[in-house]
Protein backbone atom coordinates (compact mmCIF):
# COMPACT_ATOMS: atom_id res chain seq x y z
CA UNK A 1 0.00 0.00 0.00
CA UNK A 2 1.24 3.44 -0.91
CA UNK A 3 0.32 6.76 0.63
CA UNK A 4 0.84 10.43 -0.09
CA UNK A 5 2.22 12.87 2.47
CA UNK A 6 1.48 16.51 1.76
CA UNK A 7 3.00 19.48 3.52
CA UNK A 8 1.50 22.91 3.01
CA UNK A 9 2.61 26.15 4.66
CA UNK A 10 5.47 28.58 4.97
CA UNK A 11 8.84 27.30 3.78
CA UNK A 12 11.42 26.87 6.54
CA UNK A 13 14.57 24.96 7.47
CA UNK A 14 14.27 21.31 8.40
CA UNK A 15 10.85 20.33 7.03
CA UNK A 16 12.08 17.29 5.08
CA UNK A 17 14.37 16.29 7.92
CA UNK A 18 11.57 16.30 10.53
CA UNK A 19 9.20 14.34 8.33
CA UNK A 20 11.68 11.82 7.03
CA UNK A 21 12.77 11.14 10.61
CA UNK A 22 9.23 10.14 11.54
CA UNK A 23 8.82 8.08 8.37
CA UNK A 24 12.07 6.22 8.91
CA UNK A 25 11.21 5.48 12.55
CA UNK A 26 7.96 3.94 11.37
CA UNK A 27 9.78 2.03 8.60
CA UNK A 28 7.91 3.84 5.82
CA UNK A 29 9.94 4.14 2.62
CA UNK A 30 10.00 7.42 0.66
CA UNK A 31 9.59 6.67 -3.07
CA UNK A 32 9.42 10.18 -4.48
CA UNK A 33 9.42 13.79 -3.37
CA UNK A 34 8.32 16.87 -5.28
CA UNK A 35 7.80 20.40 -4.17
CA UNK A 36 6.20 23.48 -5.62
CA UNK A 37 4.74 26.83 -4.63
CA UNK A 38 0.99 27.26 -4.75
CA UNK A 39 -0.64 30.63 -3.95
CA UNK A 40 2.65 31.69 -2.29
CA UNK A 41 2.54 28.63 -0.06
CA UNK A 42 5.21 25.99 0.04
CA UNK A 43 3.76 22.65 -1.00
CA UNK A 44 5.59 19.36 -0.76
CA UNK A 45 4.23 16.03 -1.90
CA UNK A 46 5.90 12.78 -0.80
CA UNK A 47 5.03 9.38 -2.21
CA UNK A 48 5.56 6.75 0.48
CA UNK A 49 5.48 2.94 0.69
CA UNK A 50 3.68 2.05 3.93
CA UNK A 51 3.20 -1.71 3.52
CA UNK A 52 6.05 -2.72 5.85
CA UNK A 53 5.51 -0.23 8.60
CA UNK A 54 6.03 -1.16 12.23
CA UNK A 55 3.08 0.97 13.41
CA UNK A 56 -0.57 1.32 12.41
CA UNK A 57 -1.32 3.77 9.59
CA UNK A 58 -3.42 5.87 11.93
CA UNK A 59 -0.52 6.15 14.39
CA UNK A 60 1.74 7.52 11.64
CA UNK A 61 -0.99 9.93 10.64
CA UNK A 62 -1.17 11.21 14.23
CA UNK A 63 2.61 11.56 14.49
CA UNK A 64 2.74 13.61 11.29
CA UNK A 65 -0.16 15.78 12.39
CA UNK A 66 1.56 16.44 15.71
CA UNK A 67 4.84 17.26 13.97
CA UNK A 68 2.93 19.68 11.70
CA UNK A 69 1.52 21.50 14.67
CA UNK A 70 4.96 21.80 16.23
CA UNK A 71 6.60 23.33 13.18
CA UNK A 72 3.54 25.33 12.11
CA UNK A 73 2.71 23.50 8.88
CA UNK A 74 -0.25 21.52 7.65
CA UNK A 75 0.97 17.93 7.24
CA UNK A 76 -1.30 15.06 6.24
CA UNK A 77 -1.00 11.51 4.97
CA UNK A 78 -3.63 9.91 2.78
CA UNK A 79 -4.03 6.59 1.02
CA UNK A 80 -3.02 7.07 -2.65
CA UNK A 81 -6.32 5.62 -3.93
CA UNK A 82 -8.21 8.79 -3.07
CA UNK A 83 -6.18 10.74 -5.64
CA UNK A 84 -6.16 8.00 -8.23
CA UNK A 85 -9.89 7.41 -8.05
CA UNK A 86 -10.85 11.06 -8.23
CA UNK A 87 -8.76 12.05 -11.21
CA UNK A 88 -8.38 8.98 -13.37
CA UNK A 89 -10.75 6.73 -15.23
Amino acid sequence: MKAVVTVIGEDKVGIISSISKILSECNANILDISQTTMDNLFTMVMYVEVAKMNVEFIKLSELLEKCGKEIGLDIRIQHEDIFKSMHRI
Binding site: S34, T43, I58, Q78, I82, H87
Partner: protein
Protein backbone atom coordinates in the same frame (compact mmCIF):
# COMPACT_ATOMS: atom_id res chain seq x y z
CA UNK B 1 2.96 7.58 -9.94
CA UNK B 2 1.10 10.42 -8.31
CA UNK B 3 0.60 13.75 -10.03
CA UNK B 4 1.27 16.71 -7.73
CA UNK B 5 -1.43 18.87 -9.28
CA UNK B 6 -4.03 16.19 -8.72
CA UNK B 7 -2.96 15.82 -5.11
CA UNK B 8 -3.17 19.55 -4.52
CA UNK B 9 -6.53 19.85 -6.28
CA UNK B 10 -8.01 17.13 -4.08
CA UNK B 11 -6.67 18.70 -0.91
CA UNK B 12 -8.01 22.10 -1.95
CA UNK B 13 -11.43 20.61 -2.63
CA UNK B 14 -11.50 19.03 0.81
CA UNK B 15 -9.93 21.84 2.79
CA UNK B 16 -11.12 25.03 1.14
CA UNK B 17 -14.26 23.94 -0.66
CA UNK B 18 -15.57 21.73 2.16
CA UNK B 19 -15.90 18.62 0.02
CA UNK B 20 -16.96 15.71 2.20
CA UNK B 21 -18.80 12.44 2.39
CA UNK B 22 -22.06 13.54 3.94
CA UNK B 23 -23.14 10.13 5.15
CA UNK B 24 -22.43 6.43 5.24
CA UNK B 25 -25.83 4.88 5.82
CA UNK B 26 -26.28 1.23 6.69
CA UNK B 27 -29.62 -0.13 5.52
CA UNK B 28 -30.93 -2.98 7.66
CA UNK B 29 -33.92 -5.18 6.93
CA UNK B 30 -36.04 -5.82 10.01
CA UNK B 31 -38.49 -8.11 8.25
CA UNK B 32 -37.34 -11.12 10.26
CA UNK B 33 -38.01 -9.24 13.52
CA UNK B 34 -41.80 -9.49 13.23
CA UNK B 35 -43.38 -11.04 16.29
CA UNK B 36 -46.89 -11.22 17.70
CA UNK B 37 -45.44 -10.13 21.04
CA UNK B 38 -44.47 -6.44 20.75
CA UNK B 39 -41.77 -6.59 23.44
CA UNK B 40 -40.15 -9.56 21.75
CA UNK B 41 -40.38 -7.79 18.39
CA UNK B 42 -38.58 -4.74 19.83
CA UNK B 43 -35.91 -6.91 21.42
CA UNK B 44 -35.24 -8.55 18.05
CA UNK B 45 -35.04 -5.14 16.37
CA UNK B 46 -32.62 -3.85 18.98
CA UNK B 47 -30.43 -6.96 18.83
CA UNK B 48 -30.29 -7.03 15.05
CA UNK B 49 -29.32 -3.36 14.69
CA UNK B 50 -26.82 -3.78 17.48
CA UNK B 51 -25.21 -6.77 15.81
CA UNK B 52 -25.02 -5.41 12.27
CA UNK B 53 -24.10 -1.80 13.02
CA UNK B 54 -21.62 -2.36 15.83
CA UNK B 55 -18.59 -1.49 13.69
CA UNK B 56 -20.19 1.13 11.46
CA UNK B 57 -18.90 4.21 13.27
CA UNK B 58 -15.47 2.67 13.89
CA UNK B 59 -14.98 1.76 10.24
CA UNK B 60 -16.27 5.17 9.13
CA UNK B 61 -13.71 6.88 11.34
CA UNK B 62 -10.91 4.61 10.09
CA UNK B 63 -11.68 5.41 6.46
CA UNK B 64 -11.88 9.10 7.27
CA UNK B 65 -8.37 8.98 8.76
CA UNK B 66 -6.76 6.81 6.10
CA UNK B 67 -8.11 8.64 3.08
CA UNK B 68 -8.16 12.10 4.63
CA UNK B 69 -11.77 12.65 3.62
CA UNK B 70 -14.20 13.99 6.22
CA UNK B 71 -17.14 11.63 6.73
CA UNK B 72 -19.68 13.80 8.49
CA UNK B 73 -22.42 11.35 9.45
CA UNK B 74 -22.86 7.67 10.05
CA UNK B 75 -26.49 6.61 9.96
CA UNK B 76 -28.84 3.67 9.88
CA UNK B 77 -32.00 3.12 7.88
CA UNK B 78 -34.41 0.28 8.61
CA UNK B 79 -37.43 -1.37 6.98
CA UNK B 80 -40.60 0.72 7.32
CA UNK B 81 -41.60 0.12 10.93
CA UNK B 82 -45.31 -0.01 10.04
CA UNK B 83 -44.67 -3.36 8.32
CA UNK B 84 -42.71 -4.80 11.24
CA UNK B 85 -44.76 -3.51 14.17
CA UNK B 86 -48.10 -4.56 12.71
CA UNK B 87 -47.24 -8.18 13.43
CA UNK B 88 -48.08 -7.30 17.04
CA UNK B 89 -51.40 -6.07 18.34
CA UNK B 90 -49.94 -3.00 20.06
CA UNK B 91 -51.83 0.12 19.01
CA UNK B 92 -49.31 2.84 19.75
CA UNK B 93 -45.87 2.53 18.14
CA UNK B 94 -44.01 5.08 20.27
CA UNK B 95 -42.14 2.30 22.08
CA UNK B 96 -40.83 1.10 18.71
CA UNK B 97 -39.44 4.58 18.09
CA UNK B 98 -37.81 4.50 21.53
CA UNK B 99 -36.19 1.17 20.68
CA UNK B 100 -34.79 2.64 17.47
CA UNK B 101 -33.52 5.66 19.39
CA UNK B 102 -31.76 3.42 21.89
CA UNK B 103 -30.25 1.28 19.12
CA UNK B 104 -29.00 4.41 17.36
CA UNK B 105 -27.41 5.65 20.57
CA UNK B 106 -25.75 2.34 21.13
CA UNK B 107 -24.34 2.22 17.59
CA UNK B 108 -23.11 5.83 17.93
CA UNK B 109 -24.92 7.04 14.80
CA UNK B 110 -26.56 10.46 14.69
CA UNK B 111 -29.84 9.48 13.00
CA UNK B 112 -31.89 6.37 12.35
CA UNK B 113 -34.52 6.48 9.61
CA UNK B 114 -37.42 4.17 8.94
CA UNK B 115 -40.22 5.09 11.31
CA UNK B 116 -42.09 5.03 8.05
CA UNK B 117 -45.19 3.93 6.21
CA UNK B 118 -45.93 3.53 2.50
CA UNK B 119 -49.55 4.54 2.06
CA UNK B 120 -49.74 5.82 -1.51
CA UNK B 121 -52.69 3.59 -2.25
CA UNK B 122 -54.14 2.87 1.17
CA UNK B 123 -53.56 2.23 4.86
CA UNK B 124 -53.05 -1.13 6.50
CA UNK B 125 -53.74 -1.44 10.23
CA UNK B 126 -50.04 -0.94 10.98
CA UNK B 127 -49.78 2.10 8.69
CA UNK B 128 -52.61 3.87 10.52
CA UNK B 129 -51.12 3.09 13.91
CA UNK B 130 -47.68 4.25 12.85
CA UNK B 131 -48.83 7.53 11.33
CA UNK B 132 -50.93 8.34 14.41
CA UNK B 133 -47.90 7.65 16.61
CA UNK B 134 -45.61 10.06 14.69
CA UNK B 135 -46.15 13.27 16.74
CA UNK B 136 -45.40 11.60 20.06
CA UNK B 137 -42.68 9.36 18.64
CA UNK B 138 -40.73 12.26 17.13
CA UNK B 139 -41.08 14.57 20.09
CA UNK B 140 -40.05 11.92 22.60
CA UNK B 141 -36.98 10.66 20.71
CA UNK B 142 -33.84 12.42 19.51
CA UNK B 143 -32.50 10.41 16.59
CA UNK B 144 -35.51 8.78 14.99
CA UNK B 145 -36.58 10.03 11.56
CA UNK B 146 -39.93 9.38 9.99
CA UNK B 147 -41.23 9.40 6.44
CA UNK B 148 -44.59 8.68 4.84
CA UNK B 149 -45.06 8.05 1.14
CA UNK B 150 -48.46 9.39 0.07
CA UNK B 151 -48.26 9.22 -3.72
CA UNK B 152 -46.59 7.48 -6.64
CA UNK B 153 -46.75 7.97 -10.38
CA UNK B 154 -48.19 4.45 -10.71
CA UNK B 155 -50.82 4.73 -7.97
CA UNK B 156 -51.78 8.39 -7.95
CA UNK B 157 -52.20 10.50 -4.81
CA UNK B 158 -53.83 9.18 -1.66
CA UNK B 159 -55.63 12.35 -0.62
CA UNK B 160 -56.82 10.80 2.66
CA UNK B 161 -53.16 10.33 3.56
CA UNK B 162 -52.34 13.85 2.40
CA UNK B 163 -55.09 15.26 4.60
CA UNK B 164 -53.99 13.17 7.57
CA UNK B 165 -50.35 14.23 7.16
CA UNK B 166 -51.43 17.88 7.30
CA UNK B 167 -52.85 17.21 10.74
CA UNK B 168 -49.88 15.07 11.80
CA UNK B 169 -47.35 17.76 10.87
CA UNK B 170 -49.37 20.34 12.75
CA UNK B 171 -49.61 18.25 15.88
CA UNK B 172 -45.92 17.23 15.67
CA UNK B 173 -45.07 20.94 15.66
CA UNK B 174 -47.33 21.59 18.61
CA UNK B 175 -45.84 18.74 20.63
CA UNK B 176 -42.32 20.07 20.07
CA UNK B 177 -43.17 23.78 20.26
CA UNK B 178 -40.67 24.30 23.10
CA UNK B 179 -37.94 23.33 20.61
CA UNK B 180 -39.30 25.48 17.77
CA UNK B 181 -41.15 22.54 16.26
CA UNK B 182 -37.86 20.84 15.46
CA UNK B 183 -39.49 17.39 15.59
CA UNK B 184 -40.97 18.33 12.19
CA UNK B 185 -37.42 18.47 10.82
CA UNK B 186 -37.36 14.69 11.31
CA UNK B 187 -40.55 14.11 9.29
CA UNK B 188 -40.80 13.93 5.50
CA UNK B 189 -43.90 13.38 3.37
CA UNK B 190 -42.92 11.84 0.04
CA UNK B 191 -44.25 11.25 -3.41
CA UNK B 192 -42.34 8.54 -5.30
CA UNK B 193 -40.08 7.79 -2.31
CA UNK B 194 -36.89 5.91 -3.17
CA UNK B 195 -35.88 2.74 -1.38
CA UNK B 196 -32.15 3.39 -1.10
CA UNK B 197 -31.88 7.02 -0.03
CA UNK B 198 -29.02 7.48 2.46
CA UNK B 199 -30.02 11.05 3.44
CA UNK B 200 -32.15 11.96 6.42
CA UNK B 201 -34.86 12.52 7.31
CA UNK B 202 -36.26 10.47 4.45
CA UNK B 203 -34.10 7.34 4.59
CA UNK B 204 -35.70 3.94 5.01
CA UNK B 205 -34.60 0.46 3.95
CA UNK B 206 -36.92 -0.38 1.05
CA UNK B 207 -38.87 -3.61 0.76
CA UNK B 208 -36.93 -4.61 -2.35
CA UNK B 209 -33.57 -4.28 -0.62
CA UNK B 210 -31.47 -7.12 0.79
CA UNK B 211 -30.63 -7.98 4.38
CA UNK B 212 -28.07 -5.28 4.91
CA UNK B 213 -26.51 -2.73 2.57
CA UNK B 214 -24.15 0.24 2.59
CA UNK B 215 -25.27 3.40 0.82
CA UNK B 216 -23.14 6.51 0.66
CA UNK B 217 -24.22 10.09 0.17
CA UNK B 218 -21.64 12.56 -1.09
CA UNK B 219 -21.87 16.30 -1.01
CA UNK B 220 -19.89 19.22 -2.36
CA UNK B 221 -21.75 22.42 -3.28
CA UNK B 222 -18.56 24.30 -2.34
CA UNK B 223 -16.44 22.29 -4.78
CA UNK B 224 -18.90 22.96 -7.63
CA UNK B 225 -18.99 26.67 -6.83
CA UNK B 226 -15.19 26.90 -6.72
CA UNK B 227 -14.98 25.15 -10.09
CA UNK B 228 -17.47 27.43 -11.85
CA UNK B 229 -15.87 30.55 -10.38
CA UNK B 230 -13.00 29.77 -12.74
CA UNK B 231 -15.26 29.95 -15.82
CA UNK B 232 -17.10 33.16 -14.93
CA UNK B 233 -18.76 34.65 -18.03
CA UNK B 234 -18.30 31.53 -20.17
CA UNK B 235 -21.30 30.13 -22.06
CA UNK B 236 -23.60 27.36 -20.79
CA UNK B 237 -21.80 24.59 -22.62
CA UNK B 238 -18.60 25.38 -20.73
CA UNK B 239 -20.57 25.77 -17.50
CA UNK B 240 -22.27 22.37 -17.90
CA UNK B 241 -18.94 20.70 -18.73
CA UNK B 242 -17.28 22.20 -15.67
CA UNK B 243 -20.08 21.03 -13.36
CA UNK B 244 -20.02 17.55 -14.91
CA UNK B 245 -16.27 17.15 -14.41
CA UNK B 246 -16.43 18.25 -10.79
CA UNK B 247 -19.44 16.01 -10.08
CA UNK B 248 -17.46 13.13 -11.57
CA UNK B 249 -14.59 13.67 -9.14
CA UNK B 250 -16.89 14.05 -6.16
CA UNK B 251 -18.76 10.88 -7.00
CA UNK B 252 -15.57 8.89 -7.52
CA UNK B 253 -14.59 9.79 -4.00
CA UNK B 254 -17.99 8.58 -2.80
CA UNK B 255 -17.66 5.36 -4.77
CA UNK B 256 -14.23 4.66 -3.25
CA UNK B 257 -15.49 5.25 0.29
CA UNK B 258 -18.60 3.16 -0.34
CA UNK B 259 -16.59 0.21 -1.70
CA UNK B 260 -14.11 0.43 1.14
CA UNK B 261 -16.81 0.64 3.83
CA UNK B 262 -18.70 -2.22 2.26
CA UNK B 263 -15.64 -4.47 2.14
CA UNK B 264 -14.49 -3.65 5.69
CA UNK B 265 -17.96 -4.19 7.13
CA UNK B 266 -18.55 -7.23 4.93
CA UNK B 267 -21.87 -5.79 3.81
CA UNK B 268 -22.87 -5.41 0.13
CA UNK B 269 -22.44 -2.01 -1.49
CA UNK B 270 -25.76 -0.50 -2.52
CA UNK B 271 -25.53 2.89 -4.19
CA UNK B 272 -23.78 6.23 -4.18
CA UNK B 273 -26.18 9.14 -3.89
CA UNK B 274 -24.52 12.05 -5.61
CA UNK B 275 -26.51 14.83 -4.07
CA UNK B 276 -25.33 18.36 -3.53
CA UNK B 277 -26.32 18.72 0.10
CA UNK B 278 -25.75 22.17 1.54
CA UNK B 279 -25.01 23.03 5.18
CA UNK B 280 -25.64 26.32 6.97
CA UNK B 281 -21.92 27.10 6.84
CA UNK B 282 -20.49 29.59 4.36
CA UNK B 283 -19.01 27.97 1.27
CA UNK B 284 -21.40 25.03 1.33
CA UNK B 285 -24.43 26.51 -0.37
CA UNK B 286 -26.44 25.49 -3.44
CA UNK B 287 -27.91 29.01 -3.62
CA UNK B 288 -24.40 30.41 -4.01
CA UNK B 289 -23.83 28.13 -7.03
CA UNK B 290 -26.96 29.53 -8.68
CA UNK B 291 -25.81 33.06 -7.90
CA UNK B 292 -22.33 32.31 -9.26
CA UNK B 293 -24.05 31.35 -12.54
CA UNK B 294 -25.10 34.98 -12.86
CA UNK B 295 -28.22 35.52 -10.75
CA UNK B 296 -28.10 38.52 -8.43
CA UNK B 297 -30.00 36.55 -5.78
CA UNK B 298 -31.29 33.00 -5.66
CA UNK B 299 -35.04 33.11 -6.30
CA UNK B 300 -35.04 35.73 -9.04
CA UNK B 301 -36.19 34.99 -12.60
CA UNK B 302 -33.85 32.43 -14.14
CA UNK B 303 -33.39 30.47 -10.91
CA UNK B 304 -35.44 27.49 -12.09
CA UNK B 305 -33.43 27.25 -15.32
CA UNK B 306 -30.15 27.53 -13.44
CA UNK B 307 -31.18 24.82 -10.98
CA UNK B 308 -32.41 22.55 -13.77
CA UNK B 309 -29.07 22.79 -15.53
CA UNK B 310 -27.14 22.23 -12.30
CA UNK B 311 -29.23 19.21 -11.34
CA UNK B 312 -28.84 17.62 -14.76
CA UNK B 313 -25.11 18.28 -15.07
CA UNK B 314 -24.48 16.84 -11.59
CA UNK B 315 -26.29 13.64 -12.59
CA UNK B 316 -24.47 13.32 -15.89
CA UNK B 317 -21.06 13.76 -14.28
CA UNK B 318 -21.88 11.42 -11.44
CA UNK B 319 -23.42 8.61 -13.45
CA UNK B 320 -20.17 7.68 -15.12
CA UNK B 321 -18.24 7.82 -11.86
CA UNK B 322 -20.09 5.08 -10.02
CA UNK B 323 -21.33 1.66 -11.03
CA UNK B 324 -24.52 2.18 -9.03
CA UNK B 325 -25.96 5.64 -8.60
CA UNK B 326 -29.20 5.85 -6.70
CA UNK B 327 -31.01 7.52 -3.86
CA UNK B 328 -32.15 11.03 -4.62
CA UNK B 329 -29.06 12.17 -6.59
CA UNK B 330 -29.27 15.82 -7.58
CA UNK B 331 -29.33 19.20 -5.89
CA UNK B 332 -31.09 19.65 -2.57
CA UNK B 333 -32.69 23.01 -1.84
CA UNK B 334 -33.39 23.04 1.89
CA UNK B 335 -33.96 26.59 3.09
CA UNK B 336 -32.77 26.61 6.70
CA UNK B 337 -29.74 24.42 5.91
CA UNK B 338 -28.37 26.69 3.19
CA UNK B 339 -26.90 30.07 4.07
CA UNK B 340 -27.55 31.45 0.58
CA UNK B 341 -31.21 30.37 0.65
CA UNK B 342 -31.69 31.97 4.07
CA UNK B 343 -30.23 35.25 2.82
CA UNK B 344 -32.39 35.10 -0.31
CA UNK B 345 -35.56 34.65 1.75
CA UNK B 346 -34.57 37.43 4.14
CA UNK B 347 -34.05 39.97 1.36
CA UNK B 348 -37.30 39.03 -0.35
CA UNK B 349 -35.72 37.40 -3.42
CA UNK B 350 -36.96 33.88 -2.71
CA UNK B 351 -40.64 33.18 -2.12
CA UNK B 352 -42.50 30.00 -1.21
CA UNK B 353 -44.05 29.86 -4.69
CA UNK B 354 -40.64 30.11 -6.36
CA UNK B 355 -39.38 27.28 -4.16
CA UNK B 356 -42.31 25.18 -5.35
CA UNK B 357 -41.36 25.89 -8.96
CA UNK B 358 -37.75 24.95 -8.18
CA UNK B 359 -38.88 21.58 -6.84
CA UNK B 360 -40.01 20.66 -10.36
CA UNK B 361 -36.35 20.47 -11.35
CA UNK B 362 -34.40 19.81 -8.14
CA UNK B 363 -33.83 16.35 -6.71
CA UNK B 364 -36.43 16.44 -3.95
CA UNK B 365 -38.87 19.08 -2.76
CA UNK B 366 -39.98 21.72 -0.30
CA UNK B 367 -37.39 21.19 2.39
CA UNK B 368 -36.77 22.71 5.81
CA UNK B 369 -39.13 25.63 5.39
CA UNK B 370 -40.54 27.36 8.45
CA UNK B 371 -44.16 28.48 8.00
CA UNK B 372 -46.38 30.52 10.35
CA UNK B 373 -47.48 28.58 13.42
CA UNK B 374 -51.15 29.34 12.81
CA UNK B 375 -51.12 27.69 9.36
CA UNK B 376 -54.11 25.34 9.19
CA UNK B 377 -53.74 21.58 8.78
CA UNK B 378 -55.71 21.87 5.53
CA UNK B 379 -53.24 24.39 4.11
CA UNK B 380 -50.33 22.12 5.03
CA UNK B 381 -52.18 19.23 3.38
CA UNK B 382 -52.75 21.33 0.26
CA UNK B 383 -49.02 22.12 0.10
CA UNK B 384 -48.36 18.37 0.27
CA UNK B 385 -50.96 17.79 -2.48
CA UNK B 386 -49.30 20.35 -4.77
CA UNK B 387 -45.88 18.87 -4.19
CA UNK B 388 -47.15 15.32 -4.70
CA UNK B 389 -48.78 16.37 -7.97
CA UNK B 390 -45.45 17.72 -9.22
CA UNK B 391 -43.79 14.41 -8.34
CA UNK B 392 -46.51 12.19 -9.74
CA UNK B 393 -46.89 14.01 -13.04
CA UNK B 394 -43.15 14.44 -13.63
CA UNK B 395 -42.22 10.94 -12.48
CA UNK B 396 -39.76 12.24 -9.89
CA UNK B 397 -39.38 12.15 -6.14
CA UNK B 398 -40.84 15.12 -4.34
CA UNK B 399 -41.15 15.74 -0.64
CA UNK B 400 -42.44 18.15 1.94
CA UNK B 401 -40.55 18.87 5.14
CA UNK B 402 -42.02 22.01 6.61
CA UNK B 403 -42.00 23.27 10.16
CA UNK B 404 -45.00 25.20 11.47
CA UNK B 405 -43.28 27.60 13.90
CA UNK B 406 -45.75 27.73 16.77
CA UNK B 407 -46.23 31.26 18.13
CA UNK B 408 -44.19 32.79 15.33
CA UNK B 409 -45.20 34.91 12.36
CA UNK B 410 -43.84 35.85 8.93
CA UNK B 411 -40.23 37.05 9.02
CA UNK B 412 -39.47 35.75 12.52
CA UNK B 413 -36.27 33.70 12.67
CA UNK B 414 -36.51 30.11 13.89
CA UNK B 415 -33.42 28.28 15.18
CA UNK B 416 -33.22 24.51 14.74
CA UNK B 417 -29.57 24.08 15.69
CA UNK B 418 -26.63 22.23 14.16
CA UNK B 419 -26.84 21.12 10.53
CA UNK B 420 -30.57 21.90 10.50
CA UNK B 421 -29.70 25.60 10.67
CA UNK B 422 -32.14 28.43 11.10
CA UNK B 423 -34.56 30.23 8.85
CA UNK B 424 -37.11 32.98 8.55
CA UNK B 425 -40.80 32.05 8.70
CA UNK B 426 -42.08 32.25 5.12
CA UNK B 427 -45.32 33.73 3.88
CA UNK B 428 -48.00 31.38 2.51
CA UNK B 429 -51.08 32.09 0.44
CA UNK B 430 -53.76 33.21 2.88
CA UNK B 431 -56.79 31.79 1.04
CA UNK B 432 -58.35 28.52 2.17
CA UNK B 433 -57.99 25.07 0.56
CA UNK B 434 -60.14 23.38 3.20
CA UNK B 435 -63.01 22.25 0.96
CA UNK B 436 -60.57 20.80 -1.55
CA UNK B 437 -58.82 18.74 1.11
CA UNK B 438 -62.13 17.67 2.71
CA UNK B 439 -63.14 15.73 -0.41
CA UNK B 440 -60.93 12.75 0.47
CA UNK B 441 -60.34 9.68 -1.69
CA UNK B 442 -57.61 9.28 -4.28
CA UNK B 443 -56.45 11.37 -7.20
CA UNK B 444 -56.10 8.78 -10.00
CA UNK B 445 -52.71 7.97 -11.48
CA UNK B 446 -51.84 10.03 -14.55
CA UNK B 447 -52.32 8.62 -18.04
CA UNK B 448 -48.58 8.16 -18.54
CA UNK B 449 -48.49 5.75 -15.60
CA UNK B 450 -49.88 3.11 -17.97
CA UNK B 451 -46.65 2.01 -19.54
CA UNK B 452 -47.16 -1.72 -19.82
Amino acid sequence: MINTNEVIETIKMIQQDKLDIRTITMGISLRDCCDSNADRCRQKIYDKINFLAKNLVKVGNQIEKEYGVPIINKRISVSPISMIAESSDEENYVKFAETLDKAADNAGVNFIGGFSALVHKGFTVGDTRLVNSIPEALSSTKKVCSSVNVATTRAGINMDAVSLMGRIIKSTAEMSSSENGSACAKLVVFANAVEDNPFMAGAFHGVGEGECVINVGVSGPGAIKAAIEKVRGADFEVLAETIKKTAFKITRMGQLVAREASSRLNVPFGIVDLSLAPTPFAGDSVAYILEEMGLEKCGTHGTTAALAMLNDAVKKGGTMASSFVGGLSGAFIPVSEDIGMIEAVKCGALSFDKLEAMTCVCSVGLDMIAVPGDTSAETIAAIIADESAIGVINGKTTAVRIIPAIGKGIGDIVEFGGLLGSGPVMELNKFSSADFIKRGGRIPAPIHSMRN
